[in-house]
Amino acid sequence: VVSGVLTLGAEVICARVPGLTAKQREMCRSSPDAMVAVGDGVRLATSECRHQFKFHRWNCTAISNPTSFGHVVIVGVVAGSREAAFTYAISSAGVAYALAAACAKGNISSCGCAPGPKVKEPAPSGWKWAGCSVDVGFAMRFARKFLDARELEGDERSLMNLHNNKAGRKAIKLNLSTECKCHGVSGSCTMKTCWKALPPFREIGDKLMKKYYRARPVALSQITTHVTRATKPKKHLVLKKGKIPIKRTPKKSDLVFLQTSPNYCERDLAAGSLGTIGRACNRTSRGIDGCDLMCCGRGYNTHQYTKTTQCRCQFVWCCSVNCDTCSERTEEYTCK
């Protein structure tokens, strides 16, 4: 405890946030303004993950944990599974996204607009790179330093998490949108200034979902460098074909996982599955959100109830709104 710190601020709070490694605490103390953005990023990732998996058996309830900071939670996700891969990637992407957005708003002391020369691509004629391009570089560096500081072991789980973190950050970098402002009144927009901006986070979520469907299984491999016998064999991940590891390394932007996921039908907390008892399902759908697949053949309960809503609302001058109440009988289906 440092004496002389008299305000209820970053120093004290950083010391008390549960689930931070020493290095993360150090970063917290030195850049409290960036930590606020990190928190926003985690919130963003949480809601996006829930949105993307809303109609799947595993619905990403695992990602937010009120007793510890950290996106990885064992309850509700099988360690080393595809879902864990997505969880790490979306969290990493969310944090990088929020940091870049905070920079552009001037909320972080060590960054602002991307420092020039603005963009490496040459501008087509009539265009000019100007304006405030997001400082993706800063965001990615900070996100990497902070989130990767969690991985202490260096085993295959760590390597997988680091790889997926990177895939998440890359998803941000590769999907920046170009915004332009036209010059001139004629409306033909032949002269404009352009800059790189962040797309809506939903786009990033969608891209990462695609990567989720195409995630690759990997295994740990040790290579011995031929140079000297003194160098330790370096661990890294290689792709698997079936059960056999092959000599190819996975692409940096792909998601990787170590073990196949369970079907998430039955509740098995030790294995990490919450099961689908009590989940809402769609009777008429034939997809994964349909009652057949969602309930894993166990059947579903139908719950009939009267839904009351406000309808036929009218604006009365001045200034209130009068509504009627409509009620209708609807049904809700939940898995057994």
Binding site: L6, V75, G131, L152
Partner: protein
């Protein structure tokens, strides 16, 4: 775990067992066993075996220090491993460190406690010690005192290692965080927060209170805790990031007051201060593209694309070529191409796209093709109107072209040429607009061969992104040198492209500001830095609201303006006054001072032709020294060991004290480490700074680099009434030569271009019919664009108050003239000026050529008009720099007339006035 061996009700009760709870409490364990026995038959051997082994392991490891951490792990496996563990090594199977960071942090803390407490000599002390470490929260006062009591006498080592854990910090000013209480979404937390923050306990107790009181552990995602992480000082003084310090575009921010609606004003301010990334689209749509916001749009265009003289070299918009004395915003090849594309687009698509509307066109290659081409070129190249620099096309043009060439049969009835032109063109025909007539045909210029006569070397910005282009004045034609110089500069904002050179003092708005308050900053090699807040200015009215801020009017013959509650007028002496009628003692000089030439030197560094005129200008007796501002070093004002080198300047405000006119150079100073401020000696040799000149024992001639193309020997009299040792010295001081030889007289002040002193022989004008003026107080007329500028001393005083005694170079006349000269883009024109006896600044833009052509003279006149327009419209270029921000109005005074302008209508009075004037001139 063992539950997999059981089924049915036995299984469900098994699953309900909380391992962690029964591991901590032996009694509970027995209770649980009894419960389980009720539901589970003794036949289930595997089940009972498993359960017993678990219980054994649990009791074995009961005294392990890590047991208290067992509720923490996230995973079930790890929890199980914890409750049956005896030491840390038993955990390696079930627990992974990266996944269980809080758990391992807890174990570390317990280990420290275990080590520490094992030093205790008495069991009481040991127990009190362990109590301290058990809880994750701060030890309470009770626990702290227990330890102190029990361990004081016999276990000092324990006290030593426990000290860190029981240290608490008193908290101050917790009420400042009160607003964070509202951010929580839990009622319980909100209440607890308000209560605890008003108590002002120690920091640790406060945190504990908040955590237990319902706010949970501090997490970054929680907006409640985020609020505490943010700095809590008052909004105006906290500047977190570069964007806060310098703003997004502080030059364009000055335009925000021109918006005609409150909404646009606020949106503009927010966009340019901080929120550009999120608001620019909105701002563009709601404000910039609306016709009603023409003033705002014009002002913003001023920053990126100021109106500059001359257009040539275009391949499509050829009617715009050969116009060296007209103003355009973007006469560039890109704009030319864009115009060509526009016309092609209209021809092929047969439609005209306007904001929010698409009009179908007839075949425009048949319907006034010339006019359409002129419209496209005007929209891209943007010619400026002469005085107000406006860009809109006149309404009559709009009406004509739309009525003729739009296919009205396909347009919905509600639109007509009138309604559409009302959106695009100014309603009031008196507002200056661009009539296309002059662009429908090639330029009617009659100047003979323009090439090389007038050039703008900085056109097209040849310098790198962070460098500013200035015209190289010291490059004479024919010599081998670059016509422009690139010097490092600072951007006035993260997205701004407007640069100021290093060393300039600028005005930047404060972030989050309601009252348009500003601060002074300096452009250093690290960007905009060293900022200090200026006193806020209310743009109030004068004279009990009779005159609004910015209003220009005349009081008798004097031009006046109201600026932020300050009434600023020129101090011209009027011939007729409302009260007294014609003034019989009228001498044309202020205060009707007699035209005697007995020069005095003011404390502000300015020379006045007589003490009467100095006092009329506001100086008191103590501010005046007799004698014409001679060598400031003549009285050896420096201490022993230091050499005096002149450093003359004219301080624009009388509050600027002292206005030292010299520098004391230390004989042992390291000249190379001092800033580069070149000076020239009497032998026309240049030194990097005054220090080098002093160390080499040379005689100082003038500040600035040694100039070429002027005489460096032979006294001359400047238009400001000061005698200079050479023409070059006068030019280095931004002063034109009035006549050769020392100054001997003061000339009468009129509005014309006449020779005012009968005894002086003036140089002949390059062209007798040129536009020009006789500077007030000088004898000879000069050709060139002439302006009289009024400035606000209060503005200067505000800056003085902040800058104190250091770095007040920016508040001198020379700094103002330098800043104005930077606005001149034509290489063949230069700017000169001085502080007149009528307390205004006379500025003249003259041609640098010995025998200027008509075109060159005209170009310089237009440059002067351009500067007048910048000042009168309070352009952001003027408002951003400290040296220019005190200028309030400019009057264009150059004239062709060589005879006195007639103010009164009676011929007799003219005769009388003339005889009177002539009468005074007699020696």
């Amino acid at each position: 775990m063992c539950c997999s061996h059981a089924t049915g009700s036995c299984k469900s009760i098994c699953e309900k067992i909380s391992l962690v709870d029964i591991a901590a409490d032996a009694k509970l364990r027995n209770q649980t066993v009894q419960e389980v026995q009720k539901f589970c038959s003794p036949q289930l051997n595997n089940f009972w075996e498993c359960l017993n082994t678990s219980f054994e392991e649990m009791s074995r490891g009961e005294s392990w220090f890590g047991r208290v951490c067992c509720p923490l792990p996230q995973s079930e496996n790890c929890r199980r491993a914890c409750v049956t563990a005896n030491s840390i090594y038993d955990l390696s199977q079930g627990c992974r460190k990266s996944d269980e960071i809080s758990f391992f942090n807890c174990l570390d803390r317990q280990y420290v406690g275990y080590e520490c407490c094992s030093n205790a000599r008495s069991p009481n002390c040991k127990e009190a010690c362990l109590e301290i470490f058990k809880s994750r929260l701060t030890p309470t006062r009770l626990q702290r005192n227990m330890v102190l009591e029990q361990c004081e006498y016999d276990s000092p080592k324990v006290l030593g290692c426990v000290k860190n854990f029981i240290k608490v910090t008193p908290a101050t000013n917790l009420h400042k965080h009160m607003k964070c209480c509202e951010k929580s979404n839990k009622n319980k937390c909100r209440e607890a927060c308000k209560e605890i923050l008003s108590l002002n306990n120690t920091l640790q107790e406060t945190m504990d209170g908040l955590q237990i009181g319902g706010c949970g552990f501090p997490l970054f995602q929680d907006q409640f805790w985020q609020c505490f992480m943010k700095p809590v000082d008052s909004i105006n003084t906290v500047e977190i990031s570069r964007i806060d310090r310098v703003g997004m575009d502080s030059a364009k921010w000055h335009c925000c007051s021109r918006a005609s609606t409150n909404e646009c004003r606020k949106l503009c301010s927010k966009t340019f201060l901080k929120d550009w990334s999120t608001l620019w689209d909105d701002f563009h749509l709601k404000c910039l593209s609306q016709v009603a916001q023409e003033e705002l749009r014009n002002c913003i265009d001023e920053v990126d694309e100021p109106c500059e003289l001359g257009c040539d070299g275009l391949s499509f918009c050829t009617n715009f070529n050969n116009r060296p004395t007209e103003l355009f915003r973007s006469c560039t090849p890109e704009a030319d191409d864009a115009a060509r594309n526009d016309v092609t687009l209209w021809q092929t698509r047969h439609e005209l796209t306007l904001p929010g509307l698409t009009l179908p066109l007839k075949n425009i290659s048949k319907c006034s093709p010339n006019t359409w081409k002129a419209v496209a070129c005007t929209l891209q190249i943007k010619p400026c109107s002469r005085v107000s620099h406006a860009n809109q096309i006149c309404r009559n043009v709009c009406l004509n072209i739309l009525s003729d060439c739009v296919d009205w049969s396909r347009v919905p009835v509600k639109h007509s040429p009138e309604t559409i032109c009302a959106m695009l063109s100014p309603e009031d025909p008196a507002v200056s607009c661009i009539s296309l007539e002059s662009f429908l045909a090639p330029s009617g210029n009659t100047y003979e061969s323009i090439d090389g006569q007038v050039s703008s070397p900085c056109k097209g910005d040849p310098c790198k992104e962070s460098e500013i282009c200035t015209v190289n004045k010291n490059c004479l034609p024919g010599k081998h040198c670059s016509p422009y110089k690139c010097t490092p500069g600072c951007k006035l904002g993260e997205v701004s492209e407007y640069l100021v050179p290093e060393g300039t003092y600028v005005r930047i708005p404060l972030p989050n500001n309601q009252n348009r308050c500003l601060k002074i900053c300096k452009c250093t090699s690290n960007g905009i830095d060293e900022c200090q807040p200026l006193p806020c200015v209310l743009l109030g009215s004068c004279w009990n609201n009779e005159r609004r801020h910015g209003e220009i009017f005349h009081l008798e013959c004097n031009k006046c303006t109201c600026y932020a509650g300050e009434m600023i007028c020129s101090k011209k002496q009027c011939e007729n006054s409302l009260l007294g009628g014609r003034n019989t003692a009228y001498t044309t000089l202020p205060c009707n001072c007699p035209p005697h030439f007995v020069p005095v030197c003011g404390r502000n560094g300015n020379i006045y032709p007589s003490a009467c005129l100095a006092k009329c200008a506001g100086l008191s007796d103590s501010d005046i020294e007799y004698g014409a501002c001679q060598d400031p070093c003549r009285n050896n004002p420096c201490a022993i060991g230091k050499k005096c080198v002149p450093d003359t300047k004219i301080c624009l405000s009388l509050k600027h004290k002292p206005c030292t006119q010299f520098q004391c150079i230390n004989g042992t100073a390291n000249c190379g480490s001092l800033p580069k401020e070149p000076v020239c000696d009497v032998d026309n040799k240049e030194y990097a700074n005054s220090c080098f000149l002093a160390h080499n024992n040379r005689k100082f001639a003038y500040q600035g680099p040694c100039l070429q193309g002027c005489a460096y020997l032979g006294e001359v009299c400047g238009i400001n009434g000061k005698t200079y040792i050479s023409e070059c010295a006068a030019i280095a001081d931004y002063v034109s030569v009035d006549y050769v030889g020392p100054c001997v007289t003061v000339g009468a002040i009129t509005d014309s271009k006449t020779i005012q002193c009968p005894t002086i022989k003036c140089k002949p004008l390059p062209r007798a019919d040129c536009l020009g003026f006789t500077p007030p107080g000088a004898c000879c007329p000069i050709c060139g664009g002439s302006l009289r500028l009024l400035y606000s001393t209060k503005q200067i005083d505000r800056a003085l108050y902040v800058l104190q005694t250091q770095n007040t170079q920016s508040l001198t006349l020379k700094a103002t003239l330098q800043a104005l000269e930077r606005q001149i883009q034509v290489a063949q024109c230069s700017l000169k000026g001085y502080l007149t006896v009528e307390v205004d600044i006379f500025v003249v833009v003259q041609s640098t050529e010995k025998r200027p052509t008509a075109l060159q003279l005209e170009a310089c006149v237009r440059e002067a008009e351009k500067i007048a327009s910048l000042i009168n419209r309070q352009s952001p270029r003027v408002q951003s720099e400290i040296s220019l921000s005190s200028l309030v109005t400019a009057s264009v005074v150059h004239t062709v007339h060589s005879s006195a302008t007639i103010t009164s209508s009676s011929f007799l009075l003219i005769l009388l006035a003339m005889t009177f004037l002539l009468g005074i001139e007699l020696p």
